[in-house]
Amino acid sequence: MIVHDLTFGSIAYLLLAARWTLLLSAIAFVGGAIGGVALALARTSPWLAARLAAGAFIQTVEGIPLLMLLFLFYFGVSLTGLRLDAWTSVTLALSLYASAFLADIWSGCIRSVPAGQWQAARSLALGYAAAMRLVILPQAVRIAVPPTVGFLVQLIKGTALASMVGFVELTRAGQVLNNMTFKPFVIYLIVALIYFAICAPLSLWSRRLEARLDRPHRA
């Protein structure tokens, strides 16, 4: 067996693999946002059945480890006879995961808008859709940004688990490189630092936004 040395080429290989981590996170976030909006609206809707169904869905997905969701999609899809590549099953699983957590965050933000706003909107003869769109959502979005950015960090870290179904992103690239060079500590430290470089600015941004939101309430 040939043992390779760790070179600048290896670091470039890891940095290039980080593109797939970013792309995967972006797709999962967009997919999760679409599902999350629908679920958040269902969970805060006036119809009991929609509220219960959305709540049950969110609780179920949040109660199953992401690793299991990835395996379920990866192996479940082949059970139905459909042939999907790792890309499709991984993006589906991550989108489902993101949609449940985002729906949980966003429905909380919608509910945190004071009830008086609803009553004021209804007394102005706005219908449910108009009140939601013109009065509630603009206020909810303001509160929603910091925790959403915070969840994005959780999602980016979550994409590391896609390596377990053979999807080549940053973590998987680290494993491949380790198999060639047998320098696990340095390699995984570099991998960790690349994740850190992606996630730390987002965490900081989320904290700043939260601090800014807090200020007017304290004054």
Partner: protein, 220 residues
């Protein structure tokens, strides 16, 4: 498509043993995590500037990198320095430090939530330093952190599945083992997922009930 329920039932005892191992590991990780969090929080409040910076750097590193990479660093990386840990010990250390970083932040926020005026009021009443910490700071702070800490407990219980990647003993590992010997991955992982879901719901219900009971008692 062939889906077999009987197959899952036949292997249920092994999966339930895995659930027991997962619960055990999660409980240990919670204990280690809370202990690490208390020490971290204590250092941040009392230690010198460099120690505080070091703790903050460790927290930021832990919170902004994936758990799986941290586990790889501990399990595969440390032996390079002659520190060879068993998979189970590496898993416990990894999970404990991971939870500990989040717990440190939660505890610090809890203590920060106690207003200055409260402490001054305690002093005005003639309470000593320890009494102020015990009655004015610790109890309200604990009350404030319980929901956030409970949420982290549930997350860490689910995160124990990640330690299957370094083949530590728990439910996901046992599911992996069954999967490779029986070639029925979907049934196995579906059953494992449902067990995790049951554990998560039970844990959440238990935490809510406990928090409710304690907060209720303190209010009186």
């Amino acid at each position: 498509m062939n889906f077999s329920v009987g197959f899952v039932i036949a292997h249920l005892p092994e999966l339930l043993r895995g659930a027991g191992l997962t619960l055990l590991l999660a409980m240990q990780a919670m204990l280690v995590g809370v202990a690490v969090g208390l020490v971290g929080c204590g250092l941040q409040l009392c230690a010198g500037r460099w120690a505080r910076l070091a703790v903050q750097a460790w927290i930021e590193f832990t919170r902004n990198t994936p758990l799986i990479v941290q586990l790889f660093l501990i399990y595969f990386g440390l032996p390079e320095f002659g520190l060879r840990l068993s998979a189970n010990l590496a898993a416990l250390i990894g999970l404990g430090l991971y939870l500990g970083a989040f717990a440190t932040e939660i505890f610090r926020a809890g203590i920060g939530s106690v207003g200055r005026g409260q402490i001054e009021a305690g002093r005005a009443l003639g309470l000593g330093g320890f009494q102020i910490f015990r009655f004015v700071v610790a109890v309200p702070a604990l009350k404030a952190v319980l929901p956030a800490l409970g949420a982290q407990f549930t997350l860490i219980m689910l995160a124990t599945s990640v330690v299957s990647t370094i083949s530590a003993d728990e439910l996901a590992s046992i599911a992996n083992g069954l999967q490779t010997t029986t070639f029925r991955p979907f049934e196995i992982y579906l059953a494992a997922s449902l067990i995790y879901l049951a554990l998560a719901l039970a844990l959440r219900a238990m935490l809510t009930a406990t928090a409710g009971a304690y907060v209720g008692r303190w209010r009186e």
